[in-house]
């Protein structure tokens, strides 16, 4: 469940030196428990920083992603959890949002991985998290 920043950048197809490197997929990198772990959600719900470096990489890979709206979208998504929802409820909201993305085709290709727009935004917002 420990994601290093280096691994995340690998996922995005960007080497730490800025060079494009072969994608090396490491299982914990995309372990869904990392996405849905309660502590992750709690952390995200309280601190949703924008990561320009990762966001820029995403933008190069997927120019269609409205990166500039990440912050507002995630703030909107988590505003309720900060106010009144439990971690479990927050988790369910996130899960349903992600499933809804897949059902409606809001899917983004990240180095071949078919990910929901929401989870990609979460990835791009985890600066200083222990998962990076």
């Amino acid at each position: 469940m420990k994601l290093s920043r280096r691994r995340t950048l690998f996922l995005l197809g960007i080497g730490v030196t800025g060079l494009s490197l072969p994608i090396v997929i490491d299982l914990p990198l995309l372990n869904q428990r990392a996405f849905f772990d309660k502590s992750t959600i709690q952390e995200l719900s309280s601190r949703l920083p924008y990561v320009p470096e990762v966001a820029d990489a995403m933008k190069k890979l997927h120019p269609e992603v409205p990166l500039e709206s990440f912050q507002s979208v995630l703030n909107s998504l988590y505003s309720q959890s900060r106010a009144s929802l439990t971690a479990e409820q927050t988790l369910e909201i996130v899960k349903e949002k992600i499933r809804s993305d897949f059902r409606s085709g809001n899917v983004i290709d990240v180095a071949g991985w078919k990910l929901s727009e929401t989870e990609v935004r979460i990835f791009c917002s985890q600066r200083d998290s222990e998962y990076l």
Binding site: L27, I98, R103, V107, G112, K114, L115
Partner: protein, 504 residues
């Protein structure tokens, strides 16, 4: 009875009611239908002997080209066997029905649509099952998928789970040898390669076949009806090489014989998968002996027929292979080597999300330029060798990619996992990762219209009154399922048709 063809005098004539050329799954299935009908004399001509020989197999050598075949590729001699029992001698045994959509005309697939439906074929599938020695293929999925072996994705409007069943496998030559040998009305000629089909003066019927006896002599075999059952490569070869009255070959008035060659495309490492839920595993998707069915099964994931129609896709099945747990190669090796009960790593194995490789098998788009022709080189009995130019299309790649993509979305929508697609839909075909299933399909396609098919819905060559074709060469499209059960079902259907004609 078995007859060594070398004991037949040159220039002699053997007379029978039905002459079956080829003793593989189709030929033997047809011959068996006449076992208890002593009034009907049946001949079955097998080019090879009772066992494998290099010399016999060399008759299969030819030229190759196309999207994934090298020049002089091993595909021609290695994907079939030229001796009694035919290719069932190395058949893996996987079989099942085609899907209803496989029989339909699909506007996005050129020349698709069978002149018969799954319902037409269903009674023959039922008769074919005991011949390939399996039963229970209609067992509902909910009885096959258990708590220990759950399906990865629930069946939905988008996806379905398709089960492949495995015959023992039935080696037709061994399994049915004794009854054919003991039969008094069925003569199995061994070492009897047909050099040509000879059309009589009417131009509409086969008068006899020339059976090669060495390189420069022959004898004749004559019947009321002839069934060509030599496989999807040799069937067109025989028609094209029989040029005495028709320079373009028999049944080739519309330049269709040998065209539309297809195989099932196996694409390795098309993607990767992780599962979210530790309770899910891929056991149902491993080849295992099912406790209810008592034969090997393997589950795959397919798009629903509605999704195929909506997105204009070819039929495709996704296989899940070789879980690779995140504990490194050494511990993985240890886990596999040690008995589970004593294995300290077994908990890791059980609790870790599955991470595996995906492989797909896809139906190939009918392609007129994918074809079998003849070369100028003759084999030892004077038949032109064949050339296979197996062409794949960009639509084949796009369809496989889109199928995987939609299944990836379904994994996300059901909250079961994520899929990585590593297959480049626009890239070139990679010979190392793409190969055929050794299923030779489409070269004498079935259609009610002579301008679109070599045989009609009774498997009779349109332009010939007494020549029929058995085997997967008559399939207009391939579907995604292995062809043997359908080959046998069609052979039984043809047998019934022949019995009707003989009774007239």
């Amino acid at each position: 009875m078995f007859v060594r063809a070398r004991s037949i005098d040159a220039d002699s004539v053997q007379e029978h009611d039905v002459v079956i050329i080829g003793a593989g799954a189709a030929g033997i299935a047809i011959a068996r239908e006449f076992l208890n009908q002593p009034s009907i004399s049946v001949a079955m001509c097998e080019a090879g002997g009772l066992s494998f020989s290099d010399r016999s197999q060399e008759f299969y050598l030819g030229e190759t080209s196309g999207s994934i075949l090298e020049k002089n590729d091993a595909y021609l001699p290695s994907t079939r066997l030229r001796y009694f029992g035919g290719t069932t001698n190395h058949w893996h045994g996987w079989c099942g029905r085609l899907d209803p959509i496989d029989f339909e005309e699909r506007p996005w697939l050129p020349v698709s649509g069978w002149p018969i439906t799954l319902s037409d074929l269903e009674p023959y599938y039922q008769r074919a099952l005991p011949i390939v020695e399996i039963d229970g293929i209609d067992t509902p999925l909910h009885k096959l998928a258990t708590l220990d072996r759950p399906e990865l994705l629930s069946e939905s409007e988008s996806v379905e789970t398709k089960i492949f069943h495995r015959s023992p496998p039935t080696r037709f030559g061994q399994r049915y040898r004794a009854e054919l040998k003991q039969s008094s009305n069925i003569s199995v000629y061994l070492g009897a390669p047909i050099r040509s089909l000879e059309v009589d003066d009417s131009g509409k019927t086969i008068g006899h076949c020339l059976v090669a006896k060495g390189s420069d002599s022959s004898w004749k075999i004559r019947g009321k009806h002839y069934v060509l059952a030599t496989g999807g490569l040799e069937n067109p070869r025989m028609l094209l090489a029989s040029q005495k009255r028709a320079p373009q070959g028999i049944g080739n008035e519309h330049d269709l014989v040998g065209r539309f060659f297809m195989d099932h495309l196996q694409i390795l490492d098309i993607g990767q998968l992780i599962l979210d839920s530790a309770h899910l595993n891929n056991h149902l998707y491993e080849r295992f002996v099912h406790p209810i069915l008592h034969h090997f099964v393997v589950a795959t994931t397919c798009l629903s027929q509605a999704q195929q129609r909506q997105h204009h896709l070819q039929n495709c099945a996704l296989f899940y292979l070789q879980p690779e747990q995140p504990v490194g190669p050494i511990s993985t090796a240890l886990r596999r080597a040690l008995p589970k009960i004593d294995n300290p790593l077994s908990d890791i194995s059980d609790s870790s999300p599955f991470f595996g490789r995906l492989e797909c098998r896809t139906e190939q788009r009918p392609n007129r330029e994918s074809r079998v022709t003849l070369t100028n080189e003759l084999d030892d009995i004077g038949m032109p060798r064949l050339k296979l130019d197996w062409r794949l299309s960009k639509e084949d790649r796009e369809s496989a990619y889109r199928t995987l993509e939609l299944i990836a979305h379904e994994f996300g929508a059901q909250g079961e996992g994520r899929v990585r697609v590593v297959f480049d839909q626009n890239g070139p075909w990679d010979r190392r990762r793409t190969f055929g299933g050794a299923h030779h399909i489409g070269t004498t396609r079935m259609d009610t219209r002579p301008e679109h098919g070599v045989v009609n819905k009774d498997c009779r060559v349109h332009s010939m009154d007494n020549l029929f074709i058995a085997g997967s060469s008559v399939f207009p499209t391939s579907g995604v399922m292995n062809p043997t059960l359908t080959i046998v079902a069609l052979a039984l259907r043809l047998s019934d048709h022949l019995k009707g004609r003989l009774a007239q």
